[in-house]
């Protein structure tokens, strides 16, 4: 036991830092404010560097980057506030295709995604199903050697800029819910697909996507018919390495320290000398170190080839819940000025804390809600009976 980064991982960190210093500037960050947390130039640059394919496991034909280095990459991306939501999705989509896809998907789609030339999005959630993802109702029916898709997906983030959607469908409505699911990778320019924006309280825009008699050849199927749940499980496994979300708070703490150094209390004392402010900054710093400990631990387990499961749920649960808390603390610290958004010229550091405050709640919802993660910890870690 050493909890020590190898020299190679540290070298890699400097490499990533240098890369991000070149590729992520204020403009790149600001561009994400149009709602699409994605920069085409950055995405391509990351792919060209080999880090996108690198994040795909070697046994599937990817670069097989060491999970600890992958963790470093994810950490630095988050610390630099890089708009890179499409990266994780691409890695998951490629991994799913390489593990379960047929010839067409492997040769026509996966290489384009790996090169950063094309983007994918994930179509799991629906208007009526989110946490209970296996209850998906979007229908796929076989007609000869084609499939006809009908239904609606909700929260198909990035669909408006993506080329493909990884689509969870129901192929056997009579089978038990986990046994009648089938995945497809659908080209988003197919006839019958409609994309409508869904605005959020935060800066991110998502989409509702609709599928009206969309015709797909069998070559777009991903995995066996009615075996979609098995594919889903591997998707969740791949998501763990790249999903990020373990390091959300440092940019907020950075801004809070900056504010506190410049602001004064009513009695003239500097806010950075205020005991309550100092205590909150320390508490937040402790939470950050807990998150890093979790993240490095899960990465180290993965690099030893050990499977981890519940640790990933714990990491996400702790990181998102503490992040929400930090955002609220430091927003409060700023009083009325904390409310100013980046559109106001007087907003502190481009309204960073305010922006994070609006973003934070979603981190406890998407990718598995806090409640679902608590269920998983209760069942998988503590062995308590299933509560639902």
């Amino acid at each position: 036991m050493d909890f020590a980064m190898s020299a190679r991982a540290e070298e890699f960190r400097s490499e990533v830092q240098q890369f991000l210093a070149e590729h992520v500037d204020a403009e790149t960050i600001a561009a994400g404010r149009d709602g699409t947390i994605h920069s085409a130039a950055l995405h391509r640059a990351i792919a060209e560097r080999g880090w996108l394919s690198g994040a795909v496991p070697a046994e599937l034909g990817g670069g097989g980057m060491d999970p600890v280095e992958l963790c470093v990459l994810v950490e630095e991306l988050q610390l630099h506030q890089a708009p890179a939501d499409a990266l994780g999705v691409a890695v998951v989509a490629v991994s799913m295709i390489l593990e379960h896809g047929g010839e067409h998907l492997r040769t026509a789609v996966a290489p384009r995604l790996m090169a950063g030339e094309a983007l994918a999005c994930l179509g799991y959630s629906e208007p009526e199903s989110g946490s209970d993802v296996a209850a998906a109702r979007t229908r796929a029916e076989r007609r000869g050697d084609r499939w006809i898709i009908n239904g609606a997906k909700m929260w198909t983030t990035l669909a408006h800029v993506a080329d493909y959607v990884v689509l969870l469908t129901r192929t056997d409505p009579d089978a038990p819910k986990h046994r009648g699911l089938t995945f497809f990778v659908a080209p988003l320019d197919a006839d019958g697909i409609e994309i409508r924006p869904v605005e959020t309280m935060g800066n991110e825009r998502s989409n509702a996507t609709f599928y009206d008699n969309v015709v797909l050849g069998d070559e777009w199927r991903l995995g066996e018919v009615n075996d979609g749940w098995a594919v889903m499980k591997t998707a969740l496994k791949y998501e763990r390495g790249i999903a990020g979300g373990q390091f959300p708070s440092p940019p907020v703490i950075e801004a809070a320290i900056d504010w506190a150094r410049g602001a004064c209390r009513a009695d003239g004392a500097s806010l950075i000398d205020d005991d309550e402010v100092r205590h909150k900054l320390v508490r937040a710093a402790i939470d950050v170190e807990v998150c890093r400990s979790f993240a490095y631990h899960t990465a180290a387990l993965a690099s030893e080839g050990a499977m981890f499961g519940v640790e990933g749920s714990m990491t996400k649960l702790f990181a998102s819940e503490s992040y929400k808390k930090h955002c609220a603390w430091f927003l409060d610290m700023m009083g009325a000025k904390g409310l100013l958004t980046h559109d106001d010229p007087g907003a502190h550091m481009d309204g960073r804390i305010e922006e994070h405050f609006r973003h934070a709640p979603v981190t406890a919802i998407y990718g598995g809600t806090s409640e679902i993660n608590r269920n998983l910890v209760a069942e998988g870690w503590l062995g308590l009976p299933r509560s639902r």
């Binding site: 036991m1 830092q17 320390v282 402790i286 890093r292 990465a299 702790f318 870690w381 503590l382 009976p385």
Partner: protein, 390 residues
Amino acid sequence: MRTRYSEDQQAVAEAFGELFAREASTDAVRAAEAGCGFDAGLWRTLAAAGAPGMAVAADYGGGGGSLVDLAVMVYEWGRRIAPVPLVEHAVCARLLAAVGGDWHRDAVAAVAVGELIATLAPGPLDSGGVARLVPAGAVADVVAARRADDVVVTRSRPPATARPNTADLPLADRDLSDAQTVASGAAAEDAWERALSEWKALTAVAYAGLAAEVLAMGVDYTKQRRQFGVPVGSFQAVQHGLADAATRTEGARLLAFRAVCALEAELTGKPTPPIRARPWPERPVSAANKSGKYTAATHPGLSDSRSRSEAGRSDGGRLASMALLFGAESARFAADRALQYHGGYGYSAEYDVQLYYRRAAGWLLQLGEPSAEIARLAQNDLGPKATEAA
């Protein structure tokens, strides 16, 4: 990076896990509470197993183990809240071996093999040279303390009675007016800070053990106890409270062992590569950096750490303080949830949860006020307050 025990460490965990389970049952804990919070028989057993000097240099008759090996054993000790002052003793033994070469070499050797019990007084001496509420003060033969710029040690007969306290810890006042100086100046400063950091990190590890065990009690109980025709552990409100406790407990364990590893690496001259010590800059950024762009240049590494005299000065020291605070909080949370989900029985003297609940408060407070620890961390991360600098 390795975040799991090595095979040898696994063997240490198993051996001491068994020893403590056998010799430090909750019956033994209760029996010790009737006295001064100390089980002399258990101490002799541990001494025979080489535990007290496990991580003391072989020159002094110790086992020559690393701080990490010691922590592996301390985790098992924490799980059983075993009534012996293992952490205080081990930390003091290492301190004496580091600085006390000329101070009664035979006494240090007797400490290393556990013939004498040693401890540290974390707080300042009062004007009469008395250290108040010394952890393990009721039973320690050797007490080290800080006096002005010195580290001092005394060897005297322990009172064998404790001041009655919440956690039934062997706390007692000790007279150190005739204590001898064993280190002065910068050497004393470094050795003392180092000892306190080890103490904090090991206590954090013990807290992770305490939390895991009390959580297991909560889980076991809620699986058995039935109300409304079902186990209370099937209620989601109960599950989610336990899941939160489990998450914090695991986070506390990881942070505590990470702190121990960082301290060990500093000793062996292989400090952990500067994992960005603080992921945010220390200086104001808005003037130079209006955009809020986060630049690598603004990240201080370890090389940036301040004068060695400040608490938490090193990455290991900083992590040790953090691990202690987080460990204590997590253990208290776990004990609180476990007690709550036992219902009335959790509050009864007969059930074991209360033993853990009380120690979860005690281990931290015997080291001092948590707010002072937070203030030290703030000084380390944010710099001194204007009033402190003056």
